[in-house]
């Protein structure tokens, strides 16, 4: 019994909140999810402790999860049990106000107060020739709705995190990817905008598991596409070498993968080693590949095998080499999107966002919809309500002073 009482007390709630803050401090001040060596180097002597106490991954540690669950239990116990109080406060508010002792005030003052209350759009109820003006009665449920909202946010957020499945795929323009449930995503095109902060846009066509088609739909950052029970995000991008092979008048293009050996006869051909974003040229015109952030001057590093001999070299996009009877044309590098496919039951996201709304409504009720009652009795008036209303008190005091 004593334990239950503690578990549902606000004191316990506050202790939990303080503990959550302390964990969050560690979680934000210590860089999370690094290798043990990082911590040993950064905090000599404490690396071991950090790993043992899961301070390298506080937010998924057992004790943090336990804290959140305890907070949930505490919220259930305190808000469910509080609902009774709220209902009774709500339903007895008139009774309580009618039975309040009045401040004596003359008829003139009472009339002025009534006029003020009417102008502030108070509602009124009457009993035995006495009146109670009232406003914002719903406010009694503010803290209940707030805590319920918070509880549901915790529950649905946990649910959404647990049930979300992420699948990241690099898909070349013109290619497609098929998910386990049979949904197919085709990337029709991928473009990178101009400027210092370019937009990355992919045009997708999705066919869901029942064969329903999305048609061509563009996605970019902030504008994902929901279709067929999945959500498609423009997540990242990559770049790869691109080669056209021509033999006896027939050509085909391939996106290159590192280490790929392209050959028709099995011995003579080209091996794709790497694609460098930039290069330098020395006085002799010799090209040396260099690494850079952007693909300003892309250059291919390849090796050519012909007649049993292999040579390494660099080629610029647009170059055509012939090895044997086959022509290899190195094209401009191909940019492709990284598509993130997120699968989560729509209902849980709906419920999560609904509980966001509850939390906001609850807080609004708590602070900006505070119940207030004014009794106008036979000889005076009285104020009642769960909280002070200074501005009304001031107004009434100034009426009295006149």
């Amino acid at each position: 019994m004593k334990i239950l009482k503690f578990l549902r007390s606000m004191k316990f709630g506050m202790i939990l909140l303080v503990l959550i803050v302390i964990c969050s401090l560690f979680g934000s001040l210590i860089l999370q999810n690094q290798e043990p060596a990082y911590y040993e180097a950064k905090y000599p002597g404490f690396g071991g402790i950090i790993t043992v106490l899961s301070l390298d991954d506080v937010f998924s540690s057992w004790y943090f999860i336990v804290l959140l669950i305890l907070l949930g239990i505490n919220l259930i116990l305190c808000s469910v049990l509080r609902l009774k109080n709220n209902i009774s406060a709500y339903s007895t508010c008139f009774e309580k106000t009618f039975s309040k002792e009045c401040e004596p005030a003359s008829g003139g003052v009472r009339d002025k107060i009534e006029a003020l209350l009417k102008s502030k759009r108070f509602k009124v109820t009457e009993k035995d020739g006495e009146k109670v003006y009232y406003k914002n009665r719903l406010g009694y449920y503010g803290s209940f709705i707030t805590h319920l909202g918070l509880l549901l946010v915790l529950a649905f957020a946990a649910g959404a995190m647990y049930l979300s499945v992420y699948n990241d795929q690099m898909i070349l323009p013109g290619d497609s990817y098929t998910l386990e449930d049979g949904t197919t995503v085709a990337v029709d095109s991928f473009t990178i905008g101009e400027g210092a902060m370019p937009d990355y846009r992919s045009v997708l066509s999705i066919t869901d598991k029942n064969g329903k088609e999305s048609g061509s739909r563009e996605i970019s950052v902030n504008y994902p596409l929901s279709f067929g029970g999945h959500k498609f995000f423009q997540q990242s991008y990559g770049v790869t070498g691109y080669l056209t092979v021509t033999n006896e008048g027939e050509s085909s293009s391939i996106a290159l993968e590192y280490g790929m050996f392209i050959t028709l006869d099995g011995t003579n051909g080209i091996r794709y080693e790497a694609l460098y974003p930039d290069y330098e040229t020395d006085e002799g015109g010799k090209i040396t590949p260099v690494n850079a952030q952007d693909f300003v001057n892309p250059v291919y590093l390849i090796s050519i095998t012909e007649g049993g001999e292999t040579t390494i070299g660099v080629v610029l996009p647009g170059t055509t080499l012939s090895v044997g009877d086959v022509m290899y044309t190195f094209e401009a590098p191909l940019y492709y999107p990284g598509i993130r496919i997120k699968t989560v039951p729509a209902i849980i996201m709906g419920l999560l966002y609904f509980s966001f709304g509850l939390l906001i409504v609850g807080l609004y009720l708590c602070f900006f919809h505070v119940p207030i009652f004014v009794k106008i009795g036979k000889k005076g008036y009285a104020l009642n309500g769960p909280k002070h209303n200074f501005s009304l008190e001031n107004d009434i005091n100034s009426i009295r002073r006149v």
């Binding site: 606000m10 004191k11 709630g13 506050m14 909140l17 303080v18 959550i20 803050v21 969050s24 401090l25 979680g27 934000s28 001040l29 860089l31 999370q32 937010f59 957020a157 959404a160 995190m161 979300s164 992420y166 400027g195 210092a196 902060m197 370019p198 937009d199 990355y200 970019s220 950052v221 902030n222 504008y223 994902p224 959500k231 995000f233 997540q235 993130r340 997120k342 996201m349 999560l352 966002y353 966001f356 939390l359 906001i360 807080l363 609004y364 708590c366 602070f367 900006f368 002070h388 200074f390 501005s391």
Partner: protein, 264 residues
């Protein structure tokens, strides 16, 4: 041209603050009235600056540390006007003007060129997220300043049941309640936006974590007030310490802790 507006606003805010304190120290009502009028001019200048900057940039002018700091100061100035008209008391200015001036001076130190917006910030949720942040931070900052005013008044009257102190305490509480509601909007709209932009609504990046810490600290403030009936001095100190947390969320996280939000 744009910079002239900004500095004119900053200087007039400084002048308003100085004149206000002259009025306070020498009990000159004329000076206080002048300070009020100058502060209105400063607000008008800052508003004009933000509007023109927004038009020039073709977007909400609240997208980097400078713009947000300017917006923060603008929010304090706006709340100053609202509070003063609503409460009809002139000590509000003595509290708000130096606070707004401090924040605007911080803004003045930051690079002011208009940059292109990164695509992740182009979202309808962004307006709600950052707009509510301006009001939330502004309300918390003023509540902290009211806390300082409380402590200095307490030194003089030495009696927590003094009418003036009760009112200061109540106003700090109302500001915090408002700031708390706004901060909740900041966090929840941020979750929805993050889900659209980055596919998950919460990633524990330092900015998110610190917003949550700040939120919980103010939740504790609200509960202690109710549970223990904490009022007065304790709460004034609490409100002041909590502002440090707000400022760390706003400035410290960007400077010291790396994360997705580090562009802001």
């Amino acid at each position: 041209m744009l910079n002239i507006l900004f500095f004119a606003s900053l200087i007039s805010l400084f002048v308003a603050t100085v004149v206000e304190f002259i009025g306070l120290s020498f009990k000159k009502d004329g000076a206080k009235k002048a300070a009020w009028i100058i502060s209105l001019i400063s607000f008008a200048l800052l508003t004009a600056y933000m509007v023109i900057r927004g038009i020039e940039a073709g977007r909400l002018p609240l997208s980097n540390q400078f713009e947000f700091a300017a917006g923060f100061a603008w929010g304090i100035s706006l709340l100053h006007i609202v509070l003063r008209l609503w409460l009809k008391q002139d000590w509000i200015s003595a509290v708000c003007l130096p606070t707004a001036f401090l924040i605007l001076s911080y803004a003045a130190l930051l690079p002011k060129e208009i940059n292109e917006l990164m695509p992740a910030l182009k979202s309808a949720w962004f307006g709600l997220h950052i707009g509510s942040a301006v009001f939330s931070y502004a309300a918390f900052a003023i509540a902290g300043a009211v806390g300082i005013k409380y402590l200095s008044t307490f030194k003089k009257v030495k009696n927590e049941s003094d009418e003036r102190l009760i009112q200061l305490d109540y106003i700090a509480y109302r500001l915090i309640a408002f700031g708390f509601l706004m901060l909740t909007v900041v966090i929840l709209s941020g979750c929805i936006w993050a889900e659209q932009a980055w596919s998950s609504f919460w990633t524990w990046d330092p900015k998110e974590t610190w917003a949550l810490i700040t939120w919980i600290i103010y939740a504790i403030y609200l509960h202690q007030r109710m549970r223990k009936g904490w009022r007065g001095k304790k709460m004034a100190v609490f409100a002041i310490i909590a502002v440090v947390c707000v400022l760390f969320t706003f400035i410290g996280v960007n400077q010291l802790l790396p994360g997705l939000h580090s562009y802001a």
